[in-house]
């Protein structure tokens, strides 16, 4: 029973994770091995990476990721300090709002900011011209870094806030009692204590920025931005297709992501039970509403406002005034059989499918992992590997596997390929929740089942599964949420005649129909939020579940 399940799990992981990566490396090392069965031209794609153009793309990626990380660290640290040391009036609400940037996928934040800051955009209309500087900043490498950082700052804010909450008062107080100045106490006591959280959060943001495709794809063209994700996309989706080059670039990008992830992994392990000490009730301040709400305005309120306004405007060029508002864009989407309606349906079906598949696999992996034994460390690593797999890398790999002439299941070009890519991308998320679920199940209960004569399968079905079900459901809800907004692989693997929410939004925006695009964006955000909210209510009745914590997936 356990043997069989272990074998099944390994087969699934080999197909979903290992085969795609192996094919990518093979294509990068021996470009003709797959197409012509020859070893000729070995290493040629890797040698072709040694050009000034690729060097510029690598430097561009590193620069962008460094800028995003720097901005997010500064903003996140400032917000965390503010919220802990000088909490504003209405602290709980402000805290909730500070993490709302997660609601909007990054590419949408990019589109929203171009609606806001472009010449004759909403800022021009509302505040008056003279804001052309805003447009110039937005369409520059720095502007792209700012938009990405707005989206990723909550990761650092959450990590640092937790660390500060746990560590702050007593030790620092002790230092003060022993005569340290406030600055010295902070520098030599608090800072070293929050360093691990800072490093972990910073690495997560760096990893997410290296992987990011959406924001550069939306804003990069006007900034003359050269980054690896865009280069990989171009090598596969623009004629002439250069799959060996794409595979080589993919390997490079994947290497970068892997390094960041390997550095992050040990830091992410829980360091014992978080100690909840009673916090000194800090005084609430009115002034600290200003910086915290300023961030909320830039990161969520303005972009969301622009998205909603655009979805309601009859004629984009006619501007914001009464008489120019209508629901026609929503009507276009909800018209039965319209391309918008089909995209919505496809996304819903694919996301539910991916949630079910990845949760089922995660349950099996977690079950095998819990039993421990040989190879469980390797299994854990492989199942978590998609975290360090940028979407563009997975897309290239899936093309290589599922479009290969020897593959008897030609999934490429059909909606099924997206089911595979979503399941793979979000497996680590599902696994985390499954493991959290298992952590609450005592093996005694299963033993009791066995002692009372139930077979292994019956025990699994009637004892273990019901106990971990809340964790599985929470995990599948999260996977569903991420799949509903996934952009990279949806766009790179887009089968003919199949659109998802994200490719619809992207395509309509590109073709100059921002109204339809944004109506779909609002519908997507609302549907996801509503369904996730329903799930949350559902769980409250069962065991309390840990709140979803940010992971690199936030960039997807």
């Amino acid at each position: 029973m356990r043997r069989a399940l272990t074998t099944l799990v390994w087969i699934a992981l080999a197909a979903l994770v290992l085969a795609p990566l192996a094919m990518t490396l093979l294509q990068a090392l021996f470009p003709q091995a797959l197409s012509q069965g020859s070893w000729r031209g070995a290493l040629a794609p890797l040698r072709q990476l040694l050009t000034p153009n690729v060097a510029r793309e690598l430097v561009g990626t590193l620069e962008l990721a460094a800028e995003v990380t720097a901005i997010a660290v500064v903003l996140g640290a400032a917000l965390a300090l503010l919220m802990v040391r000088a909490p504003p009036v209405g602290e709980a609400a402000v805290h909730g709002l500070l993490i709302t940037p997660f609601l909007i996928p990054p590419y949408l934040t990019g589109l929203a900011w171009s609606l806001l800051a472009q010449p004759r955009g909403y800022l021009d209309q509302l505040v008056g011209p003279g804001l052309s500087a805003a447009a110039r900043v937005l369409y520059s490498p720095l502007g792209i870094a700012l938009v990405m950082a707005l989206h990723l700052t909550p990761i650092l804010y959450l990590a640092l806030r937790t660390a500060l909450d746990e560590r702050q008062s007593e030790l620092e107080f002790a230092a003060r009692v022993h005569g340290a100045s406030p600055l010295r106490a902070f520098r030599s006591v608090t800072l070293p204590l929050v360093m691990p959280a800072l490093a972990a959060g910073g690495l997560l943001v760096f990893l997410a920025s290296v992987e990011e495709y959406g924001v550069p794809a939306v804003l990069g063209a006007y900034a003359n931005l050269h980054v690896l994700t865009l280069a990989v996309d171009r090598a596969t989706s623009v004629y002439p297709v250069r799959l060996p080059h794409a595979a080589a670039l993919s390997s490079l990008l994947w290497g970068l992501a892997l390094v960041a992830w390997l550095l992050y992994r040990p830091l992410a392990r829980p360091t014992g039970q978080p100690v909840r000490r009673a916090r000194q009730p800090a005084a609430r301040h009115l002034w600290s509403l200003l910086p915290s709400c300023g961030f909320i305005l830039l990161a969520t309120a303005l972009p969301l406002g622009a998205i909603i306004a655009t979805s309601l405007l009859k004629a984009q060029t006619a501007g914001l005034h009464a008489g120019n508002f209508s629901l026609e864009h929503y009507r276009a989407i909800f018209a039965q059989g319209s391309s918008g309606w089909l995209a919505l349906r496809t996304s819903l079906l694919l996301s539910v499918g991916a949630a079910v598949l990845s949760t089922a696999l995660a349950f099996a992996v977690a079950w095998v992992l819990r039993a421990g034994g040989r190879g469980s460390a390797v299994l854990d690593f492989v199942a978590a590997l998609p975290t360090a797999m940028p979407g563009v890398v997975l897309a290239v790999a899936l093309i290589l596997v599922w479009n290969a002439p020897w593959n008897p299941v030609p999934l490429y070009g059909r909606a099924g390929i997206l089911l595979i890519s979503y399941t793979t991308l979000f497996l680590p998320q599902a696994l985390r929740y499954a493991q959290i679920g298992f952590a609450g199940v005592h093996s005694d209960l299963e033993l009791a089942g066995r002692i009372h004569g139930a077979s292994g399968l019956v025990t699994l079905r009637r004892v273990t599964l019901p106990l971990v079900l809340p964790g599985l459901l929470a995990g599948s809800a999260i996977v569903f949420g991420f799949a509903m907004r996934e952009l990279v692989t949806s766009i790179m693997l887009q089968p003919p005649g199949v659109q998802t929410i994200s490719t619809f939004v992207f395509g309509q925006f590109e073709q100059g129909n921002p109204g339809d695009a944004m109506a779909m964006a609002v519908t997507g955000i609302l549907t996801t939020t509503l369904l996730l909210g329903l799930f949350q209510r559902f769980e409250v009745r069962g065991d309390p579940l840990p709140a979803p914590s940010p992971t690199p997936m936030t960039s997807r």
Binding site: V238, Y239, V352, G353, L357, I399, R414, G416, L469, E510
Partner: protein, 330 residues
Amino acid sequence: MKIRRSFVSLFVIAAALVVTAASAQTLTVYSSGPGSLAKALVAGYQKAHPGSKIDLFASSTGKVMARLAAEQSNPHADVVILADWTAGLNLQQQGDVLPYRPAALLDTVRPELRASGDFVPLGGDMVSIVVNTDVTPKAQMPKDWFDLTGPSWKNEITMPDPTLSGTAADFVLTFVSRFGDKAWTFFQALKAEGTLWPGPNAAALNPVEVGSRRVVLAGVGHTALKAQKAGNALALIYPSSGTVLIPRPILILKSTKHAAEAKAFVDYAMSDAGQQLVAKALLIPARQDVAPNAVWKGFDSVPTIKVDWQKLASEHDSVMSRFRTTILGR
């Protein structure tokens, strides 16, 4: 129990998804822009042939061609509509095209669009210099391609990316073939003065439409004319040294399993009804008996460069690869 039931229903939905994904399809059409025209043609064909089902993939020429190349061992498309004639000829040279060019259809086509090949043109378009007249001083109005270099044009020009836009690709090919090294020096000068190649035509036009840049070099006609019609202050300037009139091919892939339907689709696109849709999309209709939209008034007196399409098609890969590495820096 409730929880378990909801889980079971999730599985049922997933199963339904797999079934939906595997359901059969009739005809697959890949089309480069304008996407609205492709959609209209598909809708019109389905109305004329009730019960037919068509899957459409609409994108830029560069992406359509990439998809065709990626699917070479496992082709999906039956009918392909492209924005540039050389792309069609390249598919033909690779042996991917099922010849469909009946004399009866060809006879209806405007002589200036009757380029050689195993397929017919759906319509035509012309590239020009698209100027935002609000932000461009009168004295600076360009009259020729080569007027666009010099300090006053720094950071003022966009051009559709020829790796994506088929018409821009055919422009580059024609331009290089006509002017040789002078053309490459010109492109280098454009690059040095901060010219942007942000994407296909819509992406190149957008900054000029809103006035953050002054000029689109080699902008495609229908996109600029649509923006002009919508009230934007745009002027289309046809250079004295000549532009290109680019026929847009509609072709059938040899791999098709639905040749009869594919031919019916091409026939519909070339019918009076189909060609009215082409005119409505602000392209020059292929049929001589269908008048182009009024915005194209006088297009037949615009100076054009004479083009040997077969020769351009044979130079396509080397010229585009040089453009990509040295000008676009990719």
